[in-house]
Symmetry: C2
Subunit: 255 residues, 2 copies
DNA sequence: ACAATACGTTTCACATTATGAAATACGCAA
DNA sequence: TTGCGTATTTCATAATGTGAAACGTATTGT
């Protein structure tokens, strides 16, 4: 269902690069910085940004700096109705955070990467903190593995071929057969782990959030320093995932 | 601060048109429909949509129909942090809805129009229902008038000149002087009305939501059939607006 | 006050790109 | 199998987006 790579339209590639660059920083950015971040000529960046401003996809702060604009909120509000994971998930995430004391993340899948779109942060000084909007390949994250598990071995092989199993740490799974086995295990259990595969010292447990059709539509995960990660959390993490899935009309199959 | 109209880039204009068309309907759309909605040649629409799919701004359903994609959620999650009106506002909106029994709306301003981005719907069979994502000119809406009031008479005159005061009903304000007076009144009161100006039979009361700098960043409004609209709601609407503003760090000035 | 510097904005020639008509492919119903 | 409607691909080319250069603006240093 993915469009072939030959369908690229240069301006669109570029504007997405610009939007992503603006989304990487919380503070508004100057033209010079944006151009450097995107590799575009300043006058080209200026032109595209002006058009994006016209459409409210970008706006400018008082100092003339660029940041993402309100039309994105409007469009997002029209995405995948009636499902809005952030709206439905936050209270449950906050509950889970208060139960276990660690950071809880909500993630979406975008093609070959996992994106963090919401979080409830641990109050501890040393905690794991994924910036909202940040991305990670599916194979190095617990929730990413669950997305692959949801699609099956064929899709997993396709991901491996298409995206590759790049190594991030000594623990990253880079062998396709190992990933397939890991995915299969995640599917049977209904949860998955990240054992310092994305970043040294970081451990993670994730469960799927499913909609009424049974499809996994988001990931709910708990990240912590690996020494603090505890299997005792599992019942609650699973419970939170089940709560959110139920809200989306998911009905577990018996057995 | 608005870019001049000469900075248009055709592909960007077109892709925004496509995204907006997809956002107008809850159900996914076929290529034929999208092309008709946007006035683009089918092959052109197909090409641009393919590029948008590549970037996850659009996705396709199982039947091959097009709908808005997850990257919009990601980008929206990175907009105007730490302020997210929908996240902060929904519980208060639901409280207000339960207090007065009418539909509560959350709106943002995009240039010359007001956009509805969230709502808590009245349970009554006959109610006012603005579709999420729908738009209305500032001058015919209560919250829109407040946005104009927030910027002052000069901005109001600029809006009048730039956008025009198109008539929607017999009640629509089409005289610039009347609008200015109306805006001034709204500013002094701190709330505004829509008296069947956008649509016959529909009445509205709105209050501003302000951030820590005192700037109006969103509108909170109650819409109802005009015969049901009651001034008795005002204390609670004002209270709800104040609650949300407080959450954003707004500090009312004394006097 | 003037010069230098850095960044932002506009102009414009033109190579490249997006476009849309036509051809082809696909799916479904009769 | 045929016909029809929609989707997808191909390709010639007019139009468009591009980026270098010129110009404008603001700030700092002498």
């Amino acid at each position: 269902m993915k469009a072939p790579a030959t369908t690229s339209i240069q301006v669109i590639d570029r504007l997405v690069r610009l939007l992503d660059a603006l989304g990487q920083q919380e503070a508004p950015l100057s033209l010079k910085i944006v151009a450097a971040e995107t590799g575009l000529h300043p006058s080209t960046a200026h032109r595209i940004l002006a058009s994006l401003i016209q459409h409210q996809l970008v706006e400018r702060s008082e100092g003339g700096l660029y940041r993402l604009g309100p039309h994105l909120l409007t469009l997002a509000a029209r995405t995948q109705r009636p499902f809005d994971p952030r709206r439905e998930a936050l209270p449950v995430m906050e509950w889970l955070r208060s139960e276990i004391g660690e950071t809880v993340n909500l993630t979406l899948r975008e093609g070959d990467v996992l994106v963090y779109i919401e979080r409830a942060l641990s109050q501890k000084a040393m905690r794991v903190e994924q910036m909202i909007g940040s991305r990670a390949p599916l194979h190095v994250t617990a929730a990413g593995k669950l997305f692959l598990a949801d699609e099956g071995a064929m899709a997993c092989a396709r991901y491996t071929q298409h995206h590759g199993l790049e190594s991030y740490t000594a623990n990253t799974i880079t062998d396709p057969a190992r990933l397939t086995a890991c995915i299969e295990e995640a599917r049977q259990r209904g949860y998955a782990f990240d054992d310092e595969e994305a970043e040294p010292g970081v451990g993670c447990i994730a469960v799927p959030i499913r909609d009424a059709t049974g499809k996994m539509v988001a990931g709910l995960s708990v990240s912590a320093p690996i020494q603090r990660r505890s299997p005792a959390w599992l019942p609650r993490v699973i419970e939170a995932g089940a709560k959110l899935s139920a809200r989306l009309g998911y009905q577990p199959k018996d057995g």
